[in-house]
């Protein structure tokens, strides 16, 4: 939208300019040269107006290009050269005589008019360029000076027309001329934009400026001469001649000033370039820190930028990983060399560098394998990467030339090191949070697996009350229990604890569930079954993993319980107010490849009486700890059982869990807790038969 408006604006300006030019053209065809005062004055105003419209239009082109002042200057130079060419060459093939009686020769008038328009074109562009340049990169408003200058140029031009009519009034023109020159001088010192050029551009500008200054000077000398073009111009409009002359003076002075200013800027150009580069590099880096989470990329940027900005030959970044230092990035140096230099420097200098240290030793000698290789670094600076007063690495900068690092270099190096430190810290934090997220996801999966593996409820069996309670720890512990209804009067049960935690434990659980479920239907003897389970597990378990388990079968008609133990905690029986532990011999599953396991394992049988309770549990109960690392133990466990043995099984289970929770309230639950309770409720009539 804005662009189209601008375009329409431009088109309108162009139309006005062309219209004014045509008016001027026609006007000139009618009155090419006249002695009448009125016509002369009208002539000057028509030309003034036309030039104003031209300038207004041309500025529209120049303005967008002010960001590259050199191209504007180059264009100005070309136009000046054209003027110079016309002024100097035209003398040779145009005759002055035609002018004296030229009023009748229309072809000549048209030609002269066209030539004038070329001049007007060149002059307006040059003027527009000067205007834009003098406002370029100005921090304060200097339009006052420029407008005054424009005003005096116009006055000088008009007074020249008056001089044409009455030559005795030339002192007016001269007075205005002097004032205008002074104003040109004032306007010419606005050249602060030179400072922002890079060194190469400054050298280029220096050459152009001296050439242009001379060229403008030549042009001026040609405009005050008596050449054909001068006469033509003078006949056309004395004001235009004045304008042209003043503009040439302006150019000569302006480019003279530019030349000397650039000349004085040249020695500091390099330092200025470096500062500018440093500032823009730091800006780039700070952008990178917020955008890039990949530390490697940032480290590469830091080393390459440091090399460039600090005028050094090589740079490398070393970061701390645990207790070791690791090369993160190198610039202009091999990995091996950088590593060797780092090791040797850090050996000699304290690891606890707190600020940038520069080393200006004689060439640094590093031993690689058997040959002593010499690195021609004359100066090395080491900057610590510090975040929260903790050192997380070092930035090394090395120079081959014989200049030690000055204060500015050190400031820059430490700034880059600080950026690297912040980035390193960021990268670390992100990595940590990702890792944490990953672990939490893994735990979620493990918990889900565990819940799916455990039975939904407890089987409903005549004569038997069953309660099963499972409380998972934060890190999934690998507890497992299950019931298998083998036949009408046989109920198989298992409780197991997988060593280890998390997803690994959960997968082992899944495996043993499958094994128990299938074997329980084939093998009736608990010890035989566990021997078989051991044989299967020893093949799939990791060396350091094992499983403890109790497997048993309850005869729900007779109340006989057969069971075997594989390294698991004892089976408890609470009968008539007394608690008894049964620990038949048996090794953990996955400890031994077979022979010993088979040799050791024994089976046990107990006969349940009415209201007898069998308690199966994992070590999460007796080993749950309080804040003093003291274990809950068996005494409290047995006491609760005895106190509650007449209650129904769920109530007993809750009481135990309550006691454990209160006991370990100051400490997070370390391991899964599983508690399975059977209570034999035998029909009294039948019990009489036994």
């Amino acid at each position: 939208m804005a662009a189209t408006i601008k375009k329409i604006n431009n088109t309108k300006k162009l139309e006005n300019t062309i219209l004014a030019s045509i008016v001027l053209f026609v006007f000139k065809l009618v009155f090419f040269s006249s002695d009448s005062l009125i016509i002369n004055i009208i002539n000057e105003f028509v030309i003034l107006g036309t030039i104003y419209l031209w300038i207004d239009y041309v500025i529209g082109f120049v303005k967008p290009r002010t960001s590259t002042p050199l191209s504007i200057i180059l264009n100005t130079g070309i136009l000046t050269a054209i003027i110079f060419f016309i002024l100097s060459v035209s003398t040779s093939f145009l005759s002055t005589e035609i002018f004296t009686n030229g009023e009748t020769d229309y072809i000549y008038i048209i030609f002269a008019n066209l030539l004038i328009f070329v001049f007007i074109g060149c002059v307006t562009y040059i003027f527009a360029a000067f205007k834009e340049l003098s406002f370029y990169r100005q921090k304060t408003d200097k339009s006052k000076y420029f407008n005054t200058l424009v005003f005096f140029i116009i006055i000088t031009g008009l007074s020249k027309s008056i001089t044409k009519i009455d030559p005795t009034l030339d002192f007016i023109e001269n007075a205005f001329f002097v004032v205008t020159i002074l104003l040109i001088g004032i306007n010419s010192i606005r050249v602060s934009w030179i400072a922002f050029l890079i060194k190469k551009q400054k050298v280029y500008l220096l050459v152009i400026a001296i050439v242009l200054s001379i060229l403008f000077g030549f042009n001026y000398s040609l405009t005050i001469g008596d050449g054909v073009i001068n006469q033509l111009l003078y006949a056309y409009s004395p004001g235009l001649v004045a304008f042209l002359g003043l503009l040439m003076i302006y150019g000569s002075i302006y480019f003279g000033v530019i030349f000397f200013t650039t000349l004085f800027h040249l020695p500091t150009a390099e330092a200025f370039d470096r500062k500018a580069e440093e500032v823009s590099s730091l800006m780039d880096l700070s952008k990178l820190i917020t955008q890039v989470f990949d530390f490697k990329e940032l480290a590469d940027t830091v080393t390459s930028v440091t090399t460039k900005v600090c005028n050094s030959d090589s740079a490398w970044l070393v970061t701390k990983r645990e207790d070791d230092f690791e090369l993160s990035s190198v610039s202009n140096i091999g990995f091996v060399e950088a590593d060797k230099i780092t090791t040797s420097l850090l050996e000699h200098h304290s690891y606890n560098l707190n600020e940038v240290v520069t080393i200006n030793d004689s060439p640094i000698k590093i031993r690689i394998k058997n040959d002593v290789r010499t690195f021609n670094f004359k100066a090395i600076a080491v900057a610590p990467l510090k975040v929260h007063n903790k050192n997380s690495g070092f930035l090394f900068v090395a120079r081959k030339r014989d200049f030690s690092f000055d204060e500015d270099d050190i400031k820059a190096i430490s700034a880059f090191a600080d950026y690297a430190a912040v980035a390193l810290e960021n990268a670390k934090l992100i990595e940590e949070s990702l890792e944490k997220e990953r672990l939490e996801k893994e735990l979620d999966v493990a918990r889900e697996v565990q819940y799916k593996i455990l039975p939904d409820g407890v089987p409903k069996i005549e004569n038997l009350e069953i309660s099963a309670l499972f409380v998972p720890a934060f890190e999934v512990g690998g507890d497992y229990y299950d019931f298998f209804e083998i036949s009408d009067n046989k109920l198989g049960f298992v409780i197991a604890d997988v060593s280890g935690k998390g997803i690994q434990a959960a997968f082992i659980m899944a495996e043993i569930k499958g094994v128990f479920e299938s074997l329980s239907r084939i093998i009736t003897s608990p010890s035989e079954l566990l021997i078989k389970v051991n044989e299967i597990l020893i093949k799939s378990l990791e060396k350091k993993s094992f499983v403890t388990a109790v497997y048993g079968v309850i005869d729900t008609k007779s109340g006989k319980v057969n069971f075997s133990r594989a390294g698991h905690n004892s089976i408890m029986l609470c009968s008539k107010g007394k608690v008894e532990h049964f620990t038949p011999p048996g090794m953990g599953l996955g400890l031994d490849s077979g022979d010993k396991f088979r040799l050791v394992i024994k089976e046990m049988e107990i006969q349940l009486d009415n209201n007898d309770i069998i308690i199966l549990y994992t070590d999460g109960i007796p080993e749950s700890q309080n804040s003093k690392y003291e274990e809950f133990g068996y005494k409290k466990f047995e006491k609760i059982l005895i106190e509650n043995c007449d209650e129904e099984v769920n109530k007993i289970s809750n009481e135990i869990m309550k006691a454990v929770t209160i006991y370990s309230q100051d400490k997070s639950q370390h391991d899964d807790i599983t508690l399975v309770i059977f209570k034999w409720k035998f029909n009294n009539k039948k019990s009489g038969e036994v």
Partner: protein, 117 residues
């Protein structure tokens, strides 16, 4: 977190590992490092002195299972000594006495290695 400490010392050709404090899933890697170092140094005759150990979890037990095979394959072993009753009960419950040798005193365990030559 409860403290755990591992110290390895040589008694003749036998290496003695003193374990102290709480050995569980979080502290087990320290003991694993000690065993890895011994294997790197080709020291396969190891006695673990449990005098100052107050607690061991299943992950702690797993460490010995993970390394015993390597030791035995290289005509060495892992033997246990100076175990407190509560710690021994855990080993006993699992059936470790069938697989490992337990001694009351460290010197007995060291001598057992030396007797064999």
């Amino acid at each position: 977190m409860a403290d755990f400490n591992v110290n390895v010392r040589g008694v003749g050709s036998v290496s003695v590992i003193d374990v102290k404090g709480y050995l569980d899933a979080h502290t087990a890697p320290e003991l694993e490092n000690a065993f890895n170092k011994l294997i790197n140094d080709a020291k396969f005759q190891v006695v673990v002195n449990f005098n100052d150990l107050s607690y061991i979890s299943s992950a702690g037990l797993g460490v010995f299972m993970a390394y015993v095979e390597t030791m035995r394959d290289n005509s060495g072993d892992i033997k246990f000594s100076n175990m407190k009753d509560n710690v021994y009960n855990i080993f006993d419950l699992l059936g470790f006495p069938m697989l490992y040798e337990f001694f009351d005193q460290e010197t007995e365990a060291v001598n057992k290695f030396n007797d064999k030559g």
